[in-house]
Symmetry: C2
Subunit: 303 residues, 2 copies
């Protein structure tokens, strides 16, 4: 399959690299790492074995790539201002667009701009780290939960999911993208948020402090209440499962804290702002989310 | 009047210094500044004129002071563990105890330990800065709102208020100490709290950001709702007044932020914890206060 990757951070290089490794025709839009990657390729240190792709098709402009079968968006939502311009040249009438962004709103945003294209959302449950130009470390294989904007999964989406699985990306395809997004928020809202707002702490500190852990649960309850008000169903047992899961992760640094400490933009609107607005729209009061969002907006400004 | 001052920070030196200046017999319990103050006295740079008290009665142990007519507590609530022990030697059967602490709980704490003494609470609206051993700067004269624990004001409390006024301390005496404490919380909870939790910002940043200012109002509403549930009456116009007052203060650094940045203990339980517990006890949900409190507890730990 002819694939274009927009965004050459850890996520773009890792997913694109795995797809190229199993024979897909992958084109990378690059920026600062262009020279390094053209010269040295991509190196992935993965938990199932390291690999090196010496020859990578890298470009400085997406016009040079042209229309592809599948466009993968691996930019942060904080770069969405420039996304349509970067994406348009590789999107033809039959291009499917898969967004790997966090939080809410990316699929809606893409559907508005590319209304006749197939829009997919993929939620990445994975831990990746860019350790140098073209170099990515992967700590555990992780998975993608993928769904289609606006409806149940079509045969084409299933084929894309199968391709991702052949590349070792462990893709589950689901009929309800929105539900998956909200379920991921049940974790991201408290743990990504409190890890920054409580003074740059890892998840074990949140789990280990009775007050903070209670607050994490309170935030999860608000997210589930909002999802319920918006017509979805998330079992309340899910909260205990997430707490247990997080306890098992030990001293984990959520991705928003990694961005915060690296002075990169944090996806405040996608992860906290948009869920808050949707909850308020649905007539719900979510005061803990509101408090956290308003603090994060200030804490993460000027990045 | 024979007066003992427990706590020789900016507050203790300033109030004690002013009282000594008008002829009261003031005894200071000192710690690290003992030598410097015995040698050089107390210097106050005040907005109504500077003054120097070359001879100060300073002590290292309160046993050396003995029972006084009025004991003034100018320690932070975070030092309450050691307070009874420091205070007991200067408290006789007729000693009145005036606490100048922030937040809730100090008068209750003192009444439990000294049940037969007159317990007063004084809320200080003032900006003081200790600039060196025995040296205090005062930026505007400010005032004290004073009341009696557990009831309306007695003639004796009125006399103490008159003495404070003779010393230029601008003391208002009120029949409802608890109401005054909660009214002060309406300001302290949002502005002291958000100034720390939003990443060490001055009040103009809180007032100037729509989201944070809305959150400050939300916190004020919760405090007023809690006060109402506890049987007090605070007019909701009070919120607008506090916002206007704060706007007029410009780039102001709340005292809790000053303590936080100096790595001194912050009065988290007195200002946020105790109001939260009293609200919950009264059956009220105060989720914004709860969120702020839980974050502050972690942000201000290990100090």
């Amino acid at each position: 399959m002819n694939i274009g990757i927009i965004g050459a951070g850890a996520v773009g290089l890792y997913y694109g690299g795995r797809l190229q490794r199993v024979g897909e025709d992958v084109h990378f839009l690059l920026k600062s790492d262009f020279d390094a990657i053209r010269e040295n390729g991509i190196r992935i240190r993965a938990s199932d074995g390291n690999f090196h792709l010496p020859n990578v098709q890298g470009y400085l402009k997406s016009e040079e790539i042209g229309p592809v079968d599948l466009a993968i968006v691996a930019l942060k939502a904080t770069s969405n201002e420039i996304l349509p311009e970067l994406l348009a040249p590789i999107v033809g009438p039959d291009t499917a667009i898969l967004s790997l962004q966090n939080g809410l709103g990316d699929d809606v945003f893409l559907k508005e701009r590319f209304p006749s294209n197939l829009i997919l959302g993929g939620l990445c449950f994975i831990c990746l780290n860019r350790v140098g130009p073209g170099m990515v470390e992967n700590y555990h294989l992780g998975s993608i939960a993928m769904g289609e904007h606006g409806g149940p999964v079509s045969p084409r989406t299933k084929l894309i999911g199968e391709m991702l699985n052949r590349a070792g990306l462990n893709c589950r395809v689901s009929d309800d993208l929105r539900l998956m997004q909200w379920k991921k928020l049940v974790w991201n809202v408290p743990f990504n948020g409190l890890s920054i707002a409580a003074g740059e702490v890892t998840t074990d500190v949140i789990i280990g402090d009775e007050g903070l852990c209670g607050l994490a649960r309170g935030l999860m309850e608000e997210i589930i209440a909002a999802a319920t008000a918006l017509g979805m169903e998330i079992d309340r047992d899910f909260i205990d499962e997430q707490i247990d899961l997080t306890r098992s992760m030990g001293e984990y640094k959520p991705s928003s804290l990694v961005d915060f400490q690296a002075e990169r933009p944090v996806e405040v609107e996608a992860i906290w702002g948009e869920p808050l607005r949707q909850a308020v729209q649905a007539g719900l009061d979510v005061p803990k989310l509101e408090t956290l969002y308003r603090l994060l907006r200030i804490l993460c400004r000027d990045r």
